[in-house]
Symmetry: C2
Subunit: 333 residues, 2 copies
């Protein structure tokens, strides 16, 4: 029997649909999350904003989800991982800088006394960052970051830093993307420190990374156009800076925002203030055994005002110890 094209197509579609609907129940998209109020608040939100005809339906183009990075997608103890990079750069550059032997914060660092080096507070950290993060082209900096991230290891766990990402958050990112959310990083960390590896590690491409930055300048080097990183802060993507960075890079108010410290509070407030359904998520570090436990008194990633506001406004707070079956991915090496 000869069928016309329409009939052939219809028959094919019917068979295909039948085959697909015979598939077993879909696997849990968030297998590392314990069943309970936290997990179900996330899945309930995603279901109600993606269901066609739902009163709370959000069109795919508006499904903007923003995630802090340090302490939210990967760990941040005993100090921001970017500082380990800066310290390793100081060591690598030391032979060209004999004057550092008697100059702080370098002298202490080179003696291995990180605590003494950072005792100078923000000016010391600023000097450290500017010395190690500027003076090269953006392409050269990306190579330095790529080499470091592929080899450097956390001093306490011995793991690669990219293996100290949170398995439940990787699942959450993938789950949101499977539901047509566009996932962004909005971090106080350096934008060009993150971009070389976020696509491979988180599935987040460079154009969806927002962060702090130095001034860059267009220049011709041997006739080739390059961008040179200058030792001057352009933008700090933290606290009040986060909504500014979101507006500048994304141009839309997120409908889903996830952070772990008071530095994320304005991002969550800004998200909450939009019209329509919103989801605000805080990660509370409560697990001293598998990770670290810290909040109101911590120097890194302090969560104090944010915790109060989350409770007062009914935002979802992840209790790491209670809500996560696993913290880090299974160790490969």
């Amino acid at each position: 029997m000869k069928r016309d094209r329409y009939g052939q197509l219809t028959a094919a579609m019917v068979l295909l649909l039948a085959a697909l609907s015979a598939t077993a129940a879909e696997p849990d998209p968030l297998p590392s999350w314990q069943e309970g109020a936290t997990k179900s608040s996330i899945t309930a939100f995603v279901e109600r904003v993606t269901e066609t005809g739902s009163e709370d339906y959000i069109p795919p183009a508006e499904r903007i989800a923003t995630f802090d990075n340090d302490g939210n997608l990967w760990a941040e103890q005993p100090m921001y991982f970017q500082l380990f990079f800066a310290i390793d750069r100081v060591k690598a550059l030391a032979p060209q800088h004999p004057e550092w032997e008697s100059q702080e914060p370098f002298a202490s660092l080179l003696k291995g006394d990180v605590k003494a080096a950072l005792a100078g507070g923000m000016p010391a950290i600023n000097e450290l960052i500017m010395t190690t993060h500027a003076g090269m082209t953006t392409d050269e900096f990306a190579v330095l970051v790529r080499d470091w991230i592929a080899n450097a290891r956390h001093p306490e766990t011995g793991r690669l830093f990219t293996d100290m990402v949170y398995q439940p958050m990787l699942e959450l990112l993938a789950y949101l993307r499977a539901n047509d959310f566009k996932t962004f990083i909005v971090s106080g960390g350096g934008i060009e420190f993150m971009r070389p590896w976020t696509e491979a590690v988180y599935g987040i491409p460079p154009e969806q990374v927002v962060g702090s930055s130095v001034v860059t300048e267009f220049a011709l080097r041997e006739g080739k156009p390059v961008l040179v990183r200058l030792p001057e802060i352009r933008f700090i993507d933290d606290k009040e800076g986060k909504p500014v960075g979101i507006n500048s890079h994304i141009g839309r108010r997120p409908v889903f925002a996830s952070g772990n410290s008071d530095g994320d509070l304005q991002m969550l407030q800004y998200t909450a203030a939009g019209q329509g359904p919103r989801f605000m998520l805080y990660l509370h570090h409560t697990d001293a055994e598998r990770e670290w436990a810290y909040d109101r008194e911590s120097h890194v990633g302090r969560l104090d005002k944010g915790l109060d506001e989350a409770r007062a406004r009914g935002w979802t707070v992840i209790d790491m110890q209670r809500d996560w079956k696993a913290v880090f991915p299974k160790r490969q090496d």
Copy 2:
């Protein structure tokens, strides 16, 4: 006969593929482009970088295409359309500013003498932009832009400004996206002047628009977090600023860049300097009948050094009169 699921699925796929391959030859994706060297240079590039196994294959994630806006995606004569917006804002605000009757550039503008108003050069234009583009929240500004763009008409053609986009460029944007390119605007125009309408008009979402900007500041208004636009330039996305803006927003070097003036030259140079296959495209305004003809001597959209460099380096130059069958979309109103 009962088939197992795998057999059922296979049968369905075979039928479906047969049905789809019976489809007629694909329609021309660039119907408003004349057949010839310009059009075929574009399609040849796209084919060779998207064909699996090609030596010049570019993975989808790296298919970044950047487009200037004024004079490249929409017209820019007799002056940048954003200036018409600024002038209409001055008129709307005039009742609240009696002092403008004797204060330039406002006094001339309100008398209808645009030329005299702009005779003050950049300081006058700057004052005009700051007065009309700052002092409100980003959300309020977006409403002003949306209202204006929906109603304002070009003084010479009587068309809506959004109907003065170039039909061949709309086709090019769609063609690139159909081939998994990510299309960005990189314009000297105001980023927040473009974002409210680029998605509807060009299919380019706000997060893929790069432009000039003013400083914004996070503030609480009646307890609600907002961003306030301040009368201070943050970034000029023109000339040397374009590669800087691309790096800041996208974080990858484009593989395809399209512009029409010397203000786009550094973007094209930066694109050309990357490794692997690249495509640099200049639009030359040669059509005094259907649009405007201007290049080396024009005050708006001057194309002088860029034209020389394009010819010297073999970049593709669109001759509007020769290469485009149509310039604007068919008139609807």
